[in-house]
Amino acid sequence: ELGWISKVYVNRPAVERHAEQIKKWKTLKGNWQAAWLLKAVTCIDLTTLSGDDAPSNVQRLCFKAKHPIREDLLKALDMHDKGITVGAVCVYPARVSDAVNTLKAAGCNIPVASVAAGFPSGQTPLETKLAEIRLAVEYGAREIDIVISRTLVLAGQWEGLYEEIRLCRAACGGAHMKTILATGELGSLANVYKASMIAMMAGSDFIKTSTGKEVENATFPVGIVMMRAIKEYYWQTGYKVVGFKPAGGIRTAKEAITWLMLVKEELGVEWLMPELFRLGASSLLGDIEQQIFYHVTGSYALQHELAMA
């Protein structure tokens, strides 16, 4: 029943004005900043999605994922025993087994997320998409980030989109599925809203803003619209909570905190946990560690003092 699709209205200037206001929010200081940064760390999906990924750099990434912040810094904040690790490690399907083996050897329970379904463009036939998902699950990925076909959105073929996502969900089996909407390529905020709702109806566990490879990735207007869609879905169903993941373009600790504050405002404090919120980032962790180093010691670290991811 897709009659509601025609009744979705999003006013772009109003959303953009709201987003401008958000950029002016004052950032936190002191212990509050440290706590929020650690929360951001636990929600990061540490990502490496380059053409030149090899077992060696994936291994390094996994070790960093297990110890994202230096032990002594955590101890100074009295958080060393809380098991601070990142939320997940995100790699291409071909590198999933490397990641899984490394994490198992290190005795770490962080899930490995794999991108699938023709990442990043999504312009591959449906059978190969489903095959890719099944293989990734076989290799040991516990989370799958699928990419939708933007063509279906731009053509307004909502039933087609629903069917595609539903099939991907079935192929994931027990793995947890994030649907990447690639909002930079969807054309309008109304399309973003509609695509979010379809993705949630078709069974996604998370909706994600972008692949990180588009021209425009996670911006506040898009995030606001998607979060409103999540809230509306929760109201409609009464119980279903879907997670939100902004990805791409988040590089500084300040931006990470602003995203967290935005989630808290739009969705509520219950969403501020790794089960319902993730940040797709790679260099962000470095900046967060710097800020925590500064908070603890009062000066910024030199390059060799913090472990490279």
């Binding site: 109003a14 440290a34 929360k39």
Partner: protein, 685 residues
């Protein structure tokens, strides 16, 4: 690290669990710092320096949240007023003689000083005094205030069109009834100063600190010469002392709701129909079924939290179409519940305390509950001592237009939600609500939205937005819709007029219950009935009717205007006025007009003496009032809140047979019309 622990911050694991946000630590409130630097005891600011006469009683300036005294000001009295008026008069000639462009430059310099590093002080003081949260006083308010200084400055620099030959009035007194926000004050001060007048601001102690800071800043950076802006603090009755000073040519009242203003006005001297002030009112928001409900809810909640700078009273009435009212309500509950209440000088606070001097609207809410409405109130967080000044954001739904919360505006974060069946009903309800200053229409269907916006009577209408205000476009001050042009004209004296001097105190006319005036009442009623139809006729038809009328008057001496097709309304008005001036007052004239096609009721001529008729007419609440051969009735009428009062000066039409003075036509045109401003946001900010 030790320093942070000493701050009393909770340990990191605790914050990690609760994800609370914490205060912004550390910086000393710049407003308090400034007050400290003056030893918490301020004086008047007159003639470029502080004036602290000895032996005066002190009045306390209290903070809005807790009532704590933050500073003291001397209680001004008539000798202080005399000194201030003398200083202002002395500076007036020089200031006027500087010329428009120079004045514009000075005002821009003042705006630059305000925008510089003193903005924090100004914002903090405004938050302290008035209770508006800092995020507003330092944000939108300050930006709007600066625009209000810069735009008249630019206008004065370039020479506003149609104002050549206008001379300044001289010394203008601005009387504040209570703390008012920066834009509301600068809305008057900006054009006032740009036109070449000098200002004397009388303020109650609660509102004094930010104004005194403004005075101090005006001297910095060679902005305004000494004596141009003078600020006196004093008890409310101080404005009566003005009547012994005939140099004060105009008085403006600001910053208090209608009833309090009227209390101030009676018993004060005033000059001509220049008794004006923004009459605040509520904002009506119409949400149609094609609206972006989330954005609408966000904007409405923000308006409830801290009302718009120019409409500080009365909260918001939301008219939502049936299909979306439930969804909108749910979103409003979520938003209102998330608003942060607290100390207004804290940058995180979104809702401050009630403005000082206003009562909490508990009675209104209680009545609504008794009528069976659903009242949602956001829970109050733990508040600093003195928390009784806070009122939680409230949403009342399920009331009818007869309910008290709709009939009168109530201060505080109060929203009333009504459900309507469609845009037509929404327009009807919006027109029927008393005291509405502005309206907003939320709809994505552009045809419906523009049509609704067009039919709303409010002078200021936003489409899919709230609180977009810019002086160059036009802002409404409640019933007296004005835009910048008119604001400038309010403080200038056209070349065909002398600044009027009246020196008797204005007292409310004892309304003897005279049963007479049924004719007058009928005439006004008939005119009101004919107004929509006549107003909607296209210009050409109106022109045709009037041309026919002027060609065939009883006693036919009016020369018809040889009209080109582009007849300006001014030209026809001129013809009609000339004609009316020559024709004897008789019912026959009206018949001739009716025969010419003028709809009945549009023009009524009544016999009688013109003296005193102004006040009689004013009692019937017309939308505008022109008095030819102006007299004291004008003052009374504008004080009684008839909008758009004008004493038509005799010289306006020129001697018979001669052309009227330049600019007169435009003046007539402007006086006949009322700006209706529609804001359409679009594109990236």
């Amino acid at each position: 690290m030790a320093a942070l622990a000493a701050l009393g911050a909770p340990p990191v694991p605790e914050i990690f669990a609760t994800m609370e946000e914490g205060p912004i630590p550390g910086e000393i409130n710049p407003g308090e710092a400034w007050l400290e630097s003056h030893g918490r005891s301020l004086g008047h600011f007159v003639d470029g320096t502080w004036l602290k006469a000895a032996g005066r009683t002190s009045l306390e300036c209290q903070e809005a949240t807790t009532g704590r005294t933050v500073a003291t000001v001397p209680a001004g009295d008539s000798s202080d007023v005399a000194v201030a008026v003398a200083a202002a008069k002395a500076a007036a000639e020089a200031w006027a003689g500087l010329g428009g462009p120079q004045r514009g430059q000075r005002l821009t310099r003042l705006a630059a000083t305000l925008a510089g590093d003193r903005r924090g002080t100004m914002g903090a003081l405004l938050a302290l005094a008035g209770g508006r949260p800092l995020c507003r006083t330092l944000g939108a308010d300050l930006d709007l205030g600066l625009r209000l200084l810069q735009v008249p400055a630019a206008g004065a620099q370039l020479g506003p069109p149609g104002l050549e030959g206008w001379t300044p009035l001289g010394v203008v007194a601005v009387v504040l009834g209570g703390p008012c926000s920066l834009p509301a004050l600068l809305w008057k001060l900006g054009p006032l100063l740009a036109m070449g007048n000098t200002a004397l601001v009388l303020s109650p102690p609660a509102a004094a600190p930010p104004l005194l800071l403004l005075g101090e800043l005006s001297g910095e950076g060679a902005a305004l010469p000494p004596g141009v802006l003078n600020v006196l603090a004093g008890p409310p009755g101080l404005c009566r002392a003005l009547h012994t000073h005939p140099e004060v040519t105009s008085v403006t009242f600001l910053g208090a709701p209608q009833e309090e203003l009227e209390a101030l006005v009676w018993g004060s001297p005033c000059r001509g129909p220049r008794l004006g002030g923004p009459r605040g009112g509520r904002v009506v928001v119409i949400v149609l079924d094609s609206a972006d409900l989330d954005s609408a809810a966000a904007a409405i909640a923000a308006t409830a939290a801290a009302p718009l700078a120019l409409f500080p009273w009365g909260g918001c009435v939301v008219l939502a179409q049936d299909a979306v009212v439930a969804a909108l309500e749910r979103r409003l509950w979520a938003r209102l519940g998330g608003l942060r209440l607290g100390d207004p000088t804290d940058p995180k606070t979104e809702v401050g305390p009630l403005p000082p001097g206003t009562r909490p609207p508990e009675g209104v809410v209680q009545e609504a509950r008794e009528e069976g409405a659903q009242v949602f109130q956001a829970p109050l967080p733990p508040l600093p001592e003195g928390g009784c000044r806070f009122y939680p954001p409230t949403l009342i739904s399920g009331v009818a237009p007869t309910s008290r919360c709709l009939r009168e505006p109530a201060p505080g974060p109060l929203l009333v939600l009504l459900s309507v069946r469609g845009p037509t009903e929404a327009v009807a309800l919006a027109s029927a609500l008393p005291q509405t200053a502005a309206a907003a229409v939320w709809a994505q269907d552009i045809t419906v939205a523009l049509d609704t916006a067009d039919r709303l009577p409010q002078g200021l209408v936003w489409l899919n937005a709230l609180d977009l205000l810019d002086p160059s476009g036009g802002c409404a001050g409640g019933a007296a819709d004005t835009d910048l042009d008119e604001a400038l004209r309010e403080f200038g004296c056209p070349p065909w007029e002398q600044p009027s001097k009246v020196d008797e105190l204005l007292s409310p006319l004892v309304t003897v219950d005279d049963p007479g005036d049924p004719e007058l009442a009928q005439a006004v009623a008939a005119a009101r009935g004919a107004a929509p139809g006549w107003g909607r006729l296209p210009r050409a038809s109106r022109a045709r009717v009037l041309r026919g009328a002027s060609a065939a008057p009883a006693g036919g001496r009016g020369a018809p205007e040889d009209g080109d097709n582009g007849d300006t309304a001014g030209g026809l008005q001129r013809a009609l006025l000339r004609w009316a001036a020559r024709v004897e007052r008789a019912g026959g004239a009206v018949q001739a007009l009716v025969a010419a096609g003028l709809p009945g009721g549009v023009l009524t001529v009544l016999p009688g003496n013109s003296r005193g008729s102004g006040s009689r007419l004013a009692r019937h609440h017309p939308d505008g009032l022109w008095l030819c051969g102006g007299d004291a009735d004008c003052d009374w009428a504008s004080a009684a809140s008839v909008p758009r009062v004008w004493g038509v000066p005799a010289g306006l039409l020129g001697a018979p047979g001669q052309d009227p003075p330049p600019g007169a036509e435009r003046e007539l045109e402007l006086r006949c019309t009322r700006p209706h401003c529609l804001w359409l946001p679009g594109g990236a900010p």
